[in-house]
């Protein structure tokens, strides 16, 4: 790998991250305005305006808080999201990080994200954030197995844990058709990892904002960017694993990947505004009693399908 390729790889990941984060914010604003019927601000400017508002907002801290954890958690979360996005192959000849165990590394990013989200709620030493943190951990520990089984399902026909091979294995038929349960389950996990919409157990309104109740200014901005980045990384991985990644007629590969990622982003954002948040206890039961068996079924289906 030449130095030029190295620089191009790094820059393209960062650029995709920035564009993706902006798109998430703009989509979310547009969907919210459409649902609520509120006029006010264009969806294109709103993300920048919100960011500028948070940029200038003063910061907050609680009496006895774990300040290093408070500051480090959003930085790590953003880092994990960027690392996840870097694993996505753009084209058969251009993969920023082409690891032979990319699928496993993505599987590791999810529990690590759970840890930093827990720290978000733990750090302020205040009742509502801490309730949110523990609630989130019950979610985070429940979807992990589902996510892993679903991703192992796509690794079966690819005979590899490399995302590039996963895309190449979908040359004839995309995994979304071959393993119909995979993508819906994966999207649920995506909402969980980026604590978005119905699975936003930590920053919930029934806790006055929960983990974010004591956050202000730059820290909130950083978390907002991190969550959007995680959603982008998730959609990109989802597009790679289930929608055939770069493959598609007429257009160049990276464009296809971008379009598929945006489509998944839009689905996630709409789901986020449309679905109510289930009770944390109820979701725990659903995750283990419904989603996990479904992911078993998906794996069995994928296994039989791969042998045929």
């Amino acid at each position: 790998m030449s130095l030029a390729l190295l620089i191009v790889s790094v820059c393209s990941v960062l650029l995709a991250l920035a564009v993706g984060v902006y798109c998430v914010a703009a989509f979310d604003h547009a969907v919210e305005a459409r649902v609520s019927g509120a006029r006010g601000g264009s969806a294109l400017m709103a993300p920048l305006q919100q960011a500028a508002l948070l940029w200038y907002a003063p910061e907050n801290r609680t009496e006895t808080s774990d300040i290093p954890a408070w500051r480090v958690a959003p930085v790590l979360y953003l880092m994990f999201a960027a690392m996840g996005l870097a694993l996505v192959p753009w084209h058969s000849r251009f993969v920023p990080v082409d690891l032979s165990t990319g699928v496993v590394l993505w599987g590791a990013i999810e529990p690590l994200a759970t840890v930093v989200i827990f720290l978000k709620g733990w750090a302020p030493n205040a009742p509502f954030p801490i309730l949110g943190a523990y609630r989130y951990v019950s979610l985070g520990l429940s979807y992990i197995l589902v996510s892993m089984f679903v991703l192992i399902g796509v690794a079966l026909p690819a005979e590899s844990l490399q995302f590039k091979a996963v895309v190449e294995s979908q040359a004839e038929l995309w995994n979304v058709i071959r393993q119909p349960l995979g993508l819906p389950l994966f999207l649920i996990v995506g909402l969980g990892v980026s604590f978005w919409g119905p699975l936003n157990f930590i920053d919930a309104d029934d806790l006055n904002g929960g983990g974010a109740a004591e956050d202000s200014g730059r820290i909130r901005l950083l978390w907002a960017v991190g969550r959007a980045a995680m959603l982008v990384a998730f959609s990109a991985i989802g597009a790679t694993a289930f929608l055939g990644g770069w493959q598609g007629p007429w257009l160049p590969g990276p464009v296809w990947l971008g379009l598929k990622t945006l489509a998944l982003l839009l689905v996630l954002v709409v789901l986020g505004q449309y679905l109510p948040r289930p009770g944390p206890e109820r979701f725990l039961t659903i995750a283990w009693v419904v989603l996990l068996p479904l992911s078993f079924l998906n794996l069995a289906w994928a296994g039989v399908e791969a042998l045929l």
Binding site: A52, L131, D206, N208, S216, G279, E281
Partner: protein, 427 residues
């Protein structure tokens, strides 16, 4: 140059405002929700401005000072209230006018902050830790393993648990009167074991609710039933909006609030709120909890009682309603979701009644008894507060369930006719 550009960008965003809702502040809060110039936040940390709406009781002055100081400075305090302005804020407060959009007024005042100059809004509490700790004991205020007051607050001590008998520490705090989770003015002493509410003790009752003027008018003179029913539907929809907000559906909550502000006879609730979303509420937390039974149903009055199968409704006594073919809607069960459903169906029924009444120009016949959105209202005895009913209902529930259950009730007392009129005379 770039900085100016960034500040300009920031001032394009709606200003985040934390509302302090006092007595008779509900309508101003609804106006804030609808204003495109501001966003209403759930935590003062997210706000740049504090809006005081309605009258703050003497009891809650201390709490007001605390919440005021929790909005990170520099901030703007906006006064839309008959309460006397505290000494410390006298020079900095922005006083609102009733005539124009109060959201726009707040935004105008708050955007001065973005220029970078400090606001004159000073803290009201002294800049001191909650308890002296520096240099006490080992220097951080603690003693031994669990003793003392490390950093100014004590540590929790273990306690028996309700559910599985593990002896762990309770999380004890008081909440309210300005918490968005509780009705305005309600103060509760609360103890949690993990997520589960172990103790819920009402310390301060919520402020009386001021109803739409048409309900007070109907006590004395005939009013158009269409107006009465539209006001009822609006009140129920606002209650539902709060439930949607708690379930993480903020956009749909605002849609309902917006719809409630401009109801017309014959609309359907499903169209206003999105039928799928209203039905999906049953998947949110606590829907089967908070069951009201027995005598509590009667005390609960109004839609809450009807959701538990108790059919009392003052509209049955009114011949004008009988002519419209009115029959009260009821639900069985008396659960949280039954009360939400009751709101939905009553609002739907009210809109249909309004349509029929508007067509036939039906007027109500005053009998000194009006069915308000909270329950039967009479001239002599206003509706009493029943927020103490909650104490026993939420113990043993998880926090999210408890808050959902709380949001399914309309507990506060209703302001009586005389005090409402006195206020009108004064203004």
């Amino acid at each position: 140059m770039a900085v100016n550009w960034l500040r300009k960008l920031a001032s394009g965003a709606p200003v985040p405002v934390f509302p302090i809702v006092g007595r008779a502040g509900e309508s101003a809060l609804q106006a804030l929700y609808l204003s495109p110039a501001v966003t209403v936040t759930r935590s003062p940390r997210h706000a740049r401005a504090l809006a005081v709406l309605g009258v703050i009781g003497q009891r809650d002055r201390e709490a007001f000072r605390r919440v005021h100081d929790q909005v990170p400075a520099p901030r703007v305090t906006f006064w839309f209230s008959d309460t006397a302005i505290p000494e410390a804020l006298r020079s900095s407060v922005v006083i609102g006018e009733a005539s124009t959009d109060i959201g726009a007024q707040i935004a105008r005042a708050a955007k001065a902050l973005y220029g970078g100059q400090p606001s004159g809004d000073v803290d009201m509490c002294p800049d001191e830790p909650p308890a002296p700790w520096k240099g006490v004991g080992d220097g951080h205020g603690g003693e031994g393993m669990m003793g003392g007051k490390p950093y100014g607050r004590p540590m929790a001590m273990p306690e028996d648990d309700l559910r599985d008998g593990l002896q762990l520490d309770p999380l004890a705090f008081s909440i309210g009167p300005f918490s968005p989770l509780l009705p305005p003015g309600m103060v509760v002493e609360c103890k949690l074991h993990g997520d589960v509410v172990a103790q819920w003790e009402l310390v301060g009752r919520p402020y009386e609710r001021t109803l739409a003027p048409v309900f007070y008018q109907a006590l004395e003179e005939p009013v158009a039933i269409a107006d009465l029913e539209l006001a009822r539907a609006a009140s129920h929809l606002r209650g539902l909006a709060e439930a949607l907000q708690l379930a993480g559906l903020g956009a749909y909550a605002n849609r309902l609030r917006r719809g409630a502000a401009r109801l017309t006879p014959g609309q359907s609730v499903d169209k206003i709120g999105g039928s799928g979303v209203l039905r999906a509420l049953r998947w949110s937390a606590g829907t089967e909890k908070g069951v009201v039974e027995g005598d509590a149903r009667v005390r609960l009055r109004g839609p809450g009682a009807r959701a538990a199968g108790y059919p009392g409704d003052a509209r049955q006594n009114d011949p004008a309603y009988a002519a419209l073919g009115f029959k009260p809607v009821t639900q069985g069960g008396g659960t949280c979701v039954a009360r939400w459903k009751q709101w939905i169906e009553e609002a739907d029924q009210a809109l249909k009644l309004a349509e029929a009444a508007a067509r036939s120009q039906t007027m109500s016949s005053p009998s000194g008894l009006v069915e308000s959105p909270l329950g039967p209202l009479t001239k002599s005895s206003p509706l009493p507060d029943c927020s103490d009913l909650i104490d026993s209902l939420v113990v043993g529930l998880e926090w999210s369930e408890a808050i959902a259950v709380l949001s399914s009730f309309d507990l506060p007392a209703v302001r009586d006719l005389d005090s409402t009129r006195a206020r009108e005379d004064a203004s």
